[in-house]
Assembly symmetry: C2
Homo-oligomer: 122 residues x 2
């Protein structure tokens, strides 16, 4: 029994742990670093959107030609959940390194999952 | 050695496989079903954004109070990559069932990952 893989992209799930809360509070803390991370990764940015939670916390999303970037922050916990879904040639590590530098995480954890499916061929 | 878990949410990665291409082509095919899926899941919708690729294919994103929904479609392959990141009490299965009904996937695959981290406590 063989299987053919149909891969449409890689999904990077990144946990930024132990960040100073003041790095994660406001859209103005996150917008610039996220857009710069996308640029460094080689993504083609289409649109970007940010939401400010009260009293603090941010959701940010960038639509890229290659799929998306998203970030959600919990300043009170020093934690941010970041993901990149990419179906193109990109350098996600450069984006993650840049964000890590800005967010000053004590620890970073990453999982990489293939998006798509496989089909049995015989 | 014990570890304390800090869970900030569940990330549902869903593959819709073998959909009729005409279900996946245009923003107008996806916007209504995605918003209805969010409503059925119990999410609090904040904002939604859609991008039309030419000649076909869609990126859609909903910001919810509990984090996000995203979808990316490949009509020519009958495939859509869907994800829900939720940090609240929701019913993601209801969203997935609704989208599955509309997109008419021949097969659905789902992975559920916990977002957050653990710390050793002793």
């Amino acid at each position: 029994m063989a299987a053919k893989q149909y891969s449409f992209g890689k999904h990077y799930l990144v946990e930024f742990i132990g960040c100073p809360g003041e790095r994660l509070r406001y859209v103005d803390d996150i917008r610039g670093p996220l857009l710069e991370a996308a640029r460094l990764s080689g993504a083609t940015v289409l649109e970007s959107y940010f939401h400010q939670f009260e009293p603090q916390g941010v959701t940010g999303m960038i639509f890229i030609a290659e799929s998306h970037f998203s970030i959600h922050t919990w300043p009170e916990s020093g934690y941010a959940a970041f993901d990149i879904l990419t179906c193109g040639e990109m350098f996600p590590d450069k984006a993650i390194d840049h964000l890590n530098g800005v967010l000053q995480a004590a620890r970073v954890e990453m999982r990489i999952l293939t998006r798509g499916f496989s089909e049995e061929t015989s």
